[in-house]
Structure formats: structure tokens, C-alpha cells
């Protein structure tokens, strides 16, 4: 039994050639995992060095932030982040709708693209997660693309595979 599996997290990226990262940070009142403007270099880590941003990007990852093996908990965090819910959580439908519309307006005004990715990796034969419909509907409404990257472990390598060139 592999205790480290499943592994799951979600990412949010807001992209656009004219994107000014500070504007997104100010709007969402959140510090991104990484952000850069088009043509700007950003640090991709100790070994990764400096990488050139070919478009503007504001990126948030739940990995290391949300401590849950349930993908939907990670998507809840992303949704809350988008709607400022981390600070203004409300069960009030009117406030929730207003937040959604405000965010959509911000994105449309600047012609930004939103992509939400879901990563999940489980043991061989384990059941893949199901994204809650409410998340799909809200992300669809704000024009966000959703990308699912689900995978499972592979059987141990055979002798022939071990010598693969």
C-alpha cells in the first residue's frame, strides 16, 4: 500500500498578453505562486534558472496549501480564491453572484483567459475522482477552461523495459 497516493492538487492560471500581474493580485487580494508579465523573466527554481514569460501569467497552485486528498477540496479553494471567498465567504446567494459577476467583468475587460487544471495520481486500479457539477457550472459561467490530468501508477518494469534505450 502506497501511503503517498493519491496525490492531487489544482491550479489556476490567468493569462493574457496585456496581463499586469499586480492588477490581478490587487483584484483577488491573493499572492500568486508565480506571476510574470509578457517578456519578463521569472525564477523557475534553483536548477530551473530564469525562464522567459512568453505571455503574461498569474498562477496559483493548491499543492502544499490545501491538505486534502480530495480534488474537490482543492477546487473549492480555487473557487474561493477567484471570488475573494478566502476573506469574504458568504452563504448569501446575492453576494456570491455579485462576486462571480465582478470577477467575470474584470476578466472580460482585459481579455484574459482562465485555465483551471486538476491533477490526480492514484494507485493502479483506483477510482478516478469526479469533479462536482457546481464547480463545472461556475467555472463554465466565468469562461474558464478546465483541464483534467488524471493518471495511475504503472506496474513494475519488466526486464526488457529496464533496458529501454
Amino acid at each position: 500500500m502506497r501511503s503517498e497516493l493519491p496525490q492531487t492538487f489544482a491550479t489556476l492560471r490567468i493569462v493574457g498578453d496585456d496581463l499586469i500581474p499586480e492588477q490581478v493580485t490587487k483584484f483577488l487580494k491573493l499572492v500568486p505562486t508565480v506571476s510574470y508579465a509578457k517578456g519578463e523573466y521569472y525564477s523557475a527554481g534553483k536548477r530551473g534558472g530564469q525562464v522567459l514569460g512568453r505571455t503574461g501569467l498569474w498562477y496559483l497552485s493548491t499543492d502544499g496549501i490545501v491538505a486534502s486528498g480530495d480534488l474537490n477540496d482543492h477546487l473549492h479553494y480555487i473557487l474561493s480564491s477567484l471570488l475573494g471567498g478566502a476573506r469574504h465567504t458568504s452563504n448569501n446567494a446575492a453576494i456570491f453572484t455579485a462576486n462571480v459577476l465582478q470577477f467575470k467583468k474584470f476578466v472580460d475587460r482585459q481579455s484574459l483567459k482562465i485555465v483551471i487544471t486538476c491533477f490526480w495520481y492514484g494507485q493502479i486500479g483506483s477510482k478516478r475522482p469526479v469533479v462536482r457539477r457546481i464547480f463545472k457550472e461556475i467555472f463554465d459561467f466565468i469562461g474558464a477552461e478546465m483541464e483534467l490530468d488524471f493518471d495511475t501508477d504503472e506496474p513494475p518494469l519488466s526486464d526488457a523495459e529496464l533496458t529501454e534505450a
Binding site: A44, V51, R54, L57, V115, F119, L157
Partner: protein
């Protein structure tokens, strides 16, 4: 960033266990690292990349986009 090491993966599909073993890591660590590197560089999970034996990753145009070992 100059990369002199050998390419160990450049196919469209997800890298196999053989690739993670070349890097000395678990396959889930490799998949997780690549997902983050791609997302951070505005690439989709099906976009082709090249993985080098030192962990460096390049996109299909040969541009350096990160290193697997920074993500573990």
C-alpha cells in the same frame, strides 16, 4: 540554460515509469512536477515536452521551462 545531458523523453504521451527511474524518482513525483512546470508555462498537459537526464525540461520549441528536481 544550456543542457548537455541526454534527452530521456520527448513523446506526446505521459512519460513512463522508465523515465522516472532514469531520474531516480517515483513516477507520481515526475507527473506532479511536469504538471506544475507546464501549467506555470501556460502549456496544457498534452503539450509535447523534452525531459533531460539532469531533470531539465524544454518545450517543443526547445525553450527551457524548468527542472523536475525543483518541484520535488
Amino acid at each position: 540554460m544550456a543542457t548537455l545531458s541526454r534527452v530521456i523523453w520527448n513523446k506526446i504521451r505521459n512519460p513512463t515509469k522508465w523515465v522516472s527511474e532514469q531520474l531516480g524518482i517515483e513516477r507520481w513525483q515526475l507527473r506532479k512536477a511536469l504538471h506544475k512546470i507546464k501549467a506555470r508555462n501556460n502549456l496544457g498537459s498534452t503539450d509535447r515536452i523534452e525531459i533531460y537526464e539532469d531533470g531539465n525540461v524544454r518545450d517543443e520549441f526547445g525553450e527551457h521551462i524548468g527542472n523536475v528536481f525543483d518541484e520535488i
